[in-house]
């Protein structure tokens, strides 16, 4: 039975929204007879995360506070940081943490993670928390969160991380148009921002970066060798 590990803190506006929005992700995973390790509210902490990750989940879905090199939960508790990325080996990670794709994402994939989907800059959410007691009824937030929820569900259903990310970007682009023609036209710039900064890091990219690095080193050496010959 495949396992899904999901962290759902509920300590501020964005995590509160994700907490509710991810309920459908959990339902989908259970319908697919996956074992869901649901670390919600206070359980979204390092001790519980470390214990859950040892049971080798195939998918890790993280919401919380983001950082270039770290994933943080409530009270700034660090859930995982670049130095611990070995724990992510063979896992597909969907991270709703601002700015984590470049640092945490690339290091996770370099350490053996199958793929890391996340944002390489701030994730932005426009919502009306005072107007709606239930975040799921907040239509405006749906423009931002529905494509991400669908992305995770696609990954769980077996679509590749790249295809799922591209489909989410397409859905966000459609939402930009929809929002632009609605009373929510002011959210379109923020949807565009999220679309542009949604990234899927996979091994291929790391290999490409290594190839460019090695190629540039060889090229630099060759140039200096030629220059040496010319001066001799």
């Amino acid at each position: 039975m495949k396992k899904v590990l999901i962290t759902r803190p509920n300590h501020n506006v964005p995590t509160q929204y994700f907490y509710y929005w991810s309920k459908k992700i959990i339902e989908t995973a259970k319908l697919m007879e996956m074992d869901v390790l649901d670390l919600k509210v206070e359980m979204a902490n390092k001790k519980a995360f470390d214990k859950a990750i040892k049971s080798n989940p195939a998918f890790v879905i993280m919401a919380g506070r983001g950082h270039f090199k770290k994933a943080k939960m409530a009270d700034n508790e660090i859930l995982i940081e670049q130095e611990d990325c070995g724990k992510m080996k063979s896992k597909t990670i969907c991270a709703f943490l601002s700015k984590s794709a470049e640092g945490l994402g690339e290091k996770s994939v370099a350490s053996g993670a199958t793929a890391y989907i996340g944002h390489d800059d701030d994730f932005i959410l426009c919502c009306a928390p005072q107007k709606r007691s239930d975040p799921l009824l907040d239509e405006m937030a749906g423009f931002f969160l529905d494509p991400l929820r669908a992305l995770v569900e696609d990954v769980l259903r077996g679509k590749t991380a790249n295809i799922s990310t591209e489909m989410a970007k397409k859905a966000l682009k459609e939402n930009i148009k929809k929002a632009g023609n609605s009373k929510y036209d002011f959210i379109a710039p923020y949807l565009l921002w999220n679309m542009k900064h949604l990234k899927c890091i996979k091994k291929e990219r790391i290999k490409l970066l290594l190839f460019i690095l090695i190629f540039s080193m060889v090229f630099t050496n060759a140039i200096s060798f030629c220059l040496d010959l010319a001066t001799d």
């Binding site: 506006v13 506070r65 800059d121 701030d122 426009c126 919502c127």
Partner: protein, 63 residues
């Protein structure tokens, strides 16, 4: 920073209903009025919002 972009951003932020909240990554959750203050100050948050609005205008031009 272009004055025109800043002015346009403030004008667009003024169109956002008061009860809307904008969560920007790990920075915080802001009302439209608070964002206008940041834009006028041209601080980190303000510059980001101007960038977001400017990129959207470019995107519209390309459509």
């Amino acid at each position: 920073m272009k004055k025109e972009a800043k002015t346009l951003t403030v004008l667009r932020l003024k169109l956002i209903p008061d009860d809307v909240r904008i969560s920007i990554g790990d920075e915080g959750v802001y009302s439209p009025e608070e964002l206008i203050i940041h834009v006028n100050k041209e601080d980190k948050i303000g510059k980001k919002v101007i960038k977001i609005e400017s990129e959207y205008l470019k995107f519209l031009e390309q459509q």
